[in-house]
Symmetry: C2
Subunit: 284 residues, 2 copies
């Protein structure tokens, strides 16, 4: 992979990179399509990274579909797929870690200790191997994107992260490889994530700017869904992921919940429509 990318760089190609854990869905494919539009070489990776899973999480059962994933990348004319083994990424004695302090400790980081350390470490390695000009990430994992953007900035990496929209099912459920875990009841219940974001949007449209009120409206939606166990509903500054008391500038409304043994995320980006008005734009 290093050698292929090095040669493409030497030939003057603009390199796009789509890191994934595989079990591809339309969300991943939308990243590849965007990369193909903007770059002359597109590489993807397939690697289920054990270091971003907690000891009681779903590393062992995380869906793996190497052959069909490769076929889908092939259809989209990805120039190379990097699918390293565990031993190639973490050889015996591996002990170097990248941590984005602060940002990694809140929300997802609080629910999943060590998660973002695993993410930033493996992604720095992948970035070092591929050395892309652009890396394409989905906004569904908004905090992950923020952690990696901060890593790129703090470590002076010569590349940019391109954040792509959430892809949803027709009924609003955000695509996730983990949706495959849901049974029919849980699948219906999981719509509460999207409904809670709609409730937050309705509050904001009605003029509410107090974060607590918005979170309460979201919680009320969850209370009507017995199959869901809310982990957090939060409103944070889009730049820092610090909790907002009052929705002012660009913000994320974030939600995480359990449905049986499956933990799912969703979010909505809220931005001032124009500098001179209090109107908001919503990106679900």
């Amino acid at each position: 992979m290093k050698e292929a990318a090095r040669q493409a760089r030497a030939e003057g190609h603009l390199i796009g990179f789509v890191p994934t854990m595989g079990a591809l869905h339309e969300g991943h494919l939308s990243l590849v399509r965007r990369a193909k539009q903007e770059c002359t070489r597109v590489y993807s990776s397939l690697f289920v990274n054990p270091k971003q899973f907690g000891p009681n999480e779903d590393f062992a059962k995380y869906p793996r579909a190497l052959e069909s994933d490769c076929a889908r990348f092939d259809q989209l004319k990805v120039d190379a797929v990097f699918a390293p083994t565990l031993e190639e990424i973490y050889p015996s004695g591996f002990s170097t870690y990248v941590t984005v302090e602060g940002l990694s400790d809140r929300l997802e980081g609080r629910s999943r200790p060590g998660h973002f350390r695993g993410v930033s470490t493996v992604v720095l390695k992948l970035f070092a191997i591929v050395q892309p000009d652009f890396a394409y990430l989905g906004r569904k994992d908004a905090q992950q994107v923020a952690v990696l953007q901060k890593m790129v900035r703090d470590l002076n990496l010569s590349m940019q992260i391109v954040v792509c929209p959430i892809v949803r099912e027709a009924d609003g459920l955000a695509l996730s490889s983990r949706n495959a875990y849901l049974n029919a009841h849980e699948r219906r219940a999981a719509l509460v994530l999207h409904r809670s974001l709609e409730a937050a949007r309705a509050e904001l449209i009605a003029g509410t700017r107090d974060s607590l009120e918005i979170q309460n409206a979201m919680r009320a939606v969850f209370e009507k869904e017995p199959l869901a166990r809310l982990d957090y509903a939060a409103v944070v500054s889009a730049d820092t992921f610090e909790p907002s008391v009052h929705v002012g500038g660009a913000s994320y409304v974030l939600v995480a919940a359990h449905f049986g043994k499956t933990r799912l995320l969703d979010n909505m980006l809220v931005e001032p429509a124009r500098a001179d008005s209090s109107e908001l734009d919503f990106h679900l």
Copy 2:
């Protein structure tokens, strides 16, 4: 710096990099000369990195000599000197750290908690900015070299670290920017570092392979020098920096001591002369 290095890379240059904290001495200059021999572009950096100093260490008084340092780099035809400000390297909100676990916790890391985290973080940043083919480091800081070699390997960086010999004064004292702190009495006392390594060498030549015996011989040398306060005398595997019980393969004999307020290091690399004999080569 990024742009200059990017352009040199695009032109096919082989890039050598010599990171320093300035206050240059012949040791640093020997790194530059080696880089000039092996590379077609040579860049150096001057940055006194606060994150590798402990709260009670000498960051504030560490010698700074920007003008004369630049003049010396100029004489050696260094192609560019990167001398960033504190704010450029650590802008407000900076929070991403690289840690090489295990290796960073022993010896120097034990005496100077957080030291190697500061070193690996700033050097990764410098490597990301310059993206050299080769980085030249002095063997005087043997554990630092080992930490950075492990970082390069673990994080899949596309570069190599070239380790260069220790440069010594005529009387045996290893060159260090911190030698400038010593008064005349301490300067004489500091020769105990080199003498203790000579004592270790004498033990090894006499056939001693037990690390404790070697360390005891070194300690005995220190006991005769009242102005020295020994921090550690150790024998470690050159690969892992794990303590050796018995000197077998390539090893470092390491010593650190205080002379008044000044803390100095020295070491000797010991290697089997040939695979088929018990004879040793010594690199002081």
